[in-house]
Symmetry: C2
Subunit: 487 residues, 2 copies
Amino acid sequence: MFDVAEIGSTLAKEDYKARMPDLRARLLEAQFHLRRKDVPVLIAVAGDDRIGCEELIDRLNEWLDARYLDTQVFEEETEEERQRPRFWRYWMALPPRGRAAIFFGGLALDAIADRYLGRIDSDGFAARMEHVRTFERAIVADGMLLVKIWLHLPRQELRRRLKRKDSGWQLEQRDWIIFKHYDEIKPLCERYLQETSAGGAAWTVVESTDARHRDLRAAEHLLAAFTARLDEADAAPATRTAEALKPAARPVDVLGSLDLSRRIAEEDYRDRLEDQQRRLHKLSLRARREGLSSVLAFEGWDSAGKGGAIRRLVWSMKAANCRVVPVAAPTDEERARHYLWRFWRHLPHAGKMLIFDRSWYGRVLVERVEGFARPEEWRRAYDEINDFERQLTDHGSLLLKFWLHIDKDEQLRRFEERANTPRKRYKITEEDYRNRERWDDYLMAVNEMVARTGSTGAPWVLVPANDKRAARIQVLTAVCDGLDRLL
Amino acid sequence: MFDVAEIGSTLAKEDYKARMPDLRARLLEAQFHLRRKDVPVLIAVAGDDRIGCEELIDRLNEWLDARYLDTQVFEEETEEERQRPRFWRYWMALPPRGRAAIFFGGLALDAIADRYLGRIDSDGFAARMEHVRTFERAIVADGMLLVKIWLHLPRQELRRRLKRKDSGWQLEQRDWIIFKHYDEIKPLCERYLQETSAGGAAWTVVESTDARHRDLRAAEHLLAAFTARLDEADAAPATRTAEALKPAARPVDVLGSLDLSRRIAEEDYRDRLEDQQRRLHKLSLRARREGLSSVLAFEGWDSAGKGGAIRRLVWSMKAANCRVVPVAAPTDEERARHYLWRFWRHLPHAGKMLIFDRSWYGRVLVERVEGFARPEEWRRAYDEINDFERQLTDHGSLLLKFWLHIDKDEQLRRFEERANTPRKRYKITEEDYRNRERWDDYLMAVNEMVARTGSTGAPWVLVPANDKRAARIQVLTAVCDGLDRLL
């Protein structure tokens, strides 16, 4: 696909001078309107022409309003970054709505370099590209205007530059490497570009032999992308066909098969609790030493006992090694980004345990059932979540997801008990009672969630919780077993 | 001050068991109410008894609701942290309103260890404690409930523990160091505690010979602090005496002495602009190589030309080495913390330049004049700002602050010009005209700001800006000179 970009296009200085002022004015204006419409913009710049990329990025910073534009250069991973899944640094650098960012290198060059240097094999390369596609699809679906520009330099031009004395100060070792191994690197680039051009995330290849031609082409392409998006936003919003809450096929009722009558006697409970807590204490110290991170997600009916189960975990560990994040309404910084961002941002350092009290599954549970997310939003969430979780487990983290299950009668009993206990009264609201009316909708959503997001690497632990003691022992044991398996 | 904490207090198991349940219930309840009242809580735990601190922190995580409590252990600085001023990591770890955090070690142990290890001399130790006082005063004034607990172990008890075989697994090399150099370390601790106990930030020293006594005393102290704060919040808010907008003494009118008639001819401008931009390009590359960070703050009248001056800076540098942060309304995550937090969070990596388009000076300008900040808030801001800036310059960063000055007639001319230029019309609003009515109040606020926050290390660059060309040249030159001085 580079052949079309090896035609030696050039642009005369006069032509450039005649056309750029108007282009720049229109680009700036379009950026302003995108900001007013709260559109986030991501401009990915990569290519086999490193110097050309740097020059183009400097130009973009001249043309656009730099106050609303961040340039992110992705070099070797830092210590902070290495402790998280690979895409963490891309997620953290995503522009919020109304701002723009340039990613230099990033996803593309990281993948190609890792493959070229043998850090990943062919399968790993394919898997990486699949992550890239999912990532880009997710942010585009969430409203990101994504523009991807690849600068290509024909080999003979690279040779010419390397031999020119006067440009020597700009050239680095790695430019020579690209030149010497061009035949090996080029097919990797081509494959990457082909396989990551799906949907709203197509690459535009620009020949960078001539700087003026390169800059003008890039500016035109950007302006076209900005304008298209603005026109789209100006058009009347597409009338959405009312999509049903129901899934395509009714999922298997996995919850219905749980044995809620299970009980543990008080005495037995004390012994087993102590055993498992002692076990968790030791395992968590070992996890800390060996750098094994854990991410636990707790979901369940209101009053199913998430809090109590989480406390038993926390009490078993050194406080410094463990953190609980209660998930409530997102902050406005979180609302300005893809819904998964608020979970990515908390991912723990090596060796620590992070416990989410409610989690990213809110998207396919409460947001789905209550209509806070549109059907196309929660429907695509299953894939986004699966990709997120695969990144966690590929990174080597322990990931466990708990659904604490009680029946409707038990819930009512607990609500009434709380209402009668002064210290617990604040825990119960009108809304809790209202939610009961949609029990069956939630039940269906949970069943579908478990069916679509459970996997060997990221299993759902379904916990019958009518008996709190049995539930706590099961949770503790599952966490210990999980750590044991990976240590 | 440790003598009173060496009386060998112990607590019988029965007494502990009899008193703790009620204490715990009340602590939990108080934490809940503090959360509901949006009070942020910071519990600093430090001491010469490392193991005792760790045990107490684990206890606190049991007693309190761990979902709203983060435990921050401050160990050796990470690479990320070393690239910022020392207090950056404390600022970043501050709990937002409604949450609680435990700082283990942190400010106290960092200071004492740095002094003991000879990383700072006696003056450095004094300066550090002054920063601590300013930091704690700032967060307390902002509403933080700060509780500081120091665990003290008498030397004979430490000796006893070190000799006990069965506790050997918990002991580390550093416990032996404390023991061997107790006589040198103890006076440092005492001095630190004395000098950082001012105002609402007093240390409570607890003897930790006996674990039960230690835990009960800490719990009681915490509960007392929580309760006092809740009682205070319940009381009717103190009627604030109407404080005048006016400063104590009318500051010198430094702005009035600026020569606004200065002009640069077009041709001269082109040459000098190119010279300075070329110079900045080179200097910024050198700064990047040598790890010199810069922080620039731009303030000035509406339409004084901040944007244009900033653009000339940005255009001179590689985009990746420079970032502009436009300061508008704070996000809700920012509003949940001290007003300086939103500036600390952006502080750049080593070698980069960060440009604030409007800055922390909003506190003593627009917030003061428009009444968004209460008089006691903007009055204490001068000290808080001076301390913040001293940390930046002590860290070795270049800090420059620009006030772009035009007169009232020139502003009106520019407003009208903008209103008549379609592309610039959006830049002008009703509010801009309204702000003109308070010109004299702003003038006074600017004069006081310059008088109270200008210093050799953090100078104000006052820029007559009726002529945009002259203003841009002055800004560019000042930045170049600043870099030159530090490189």
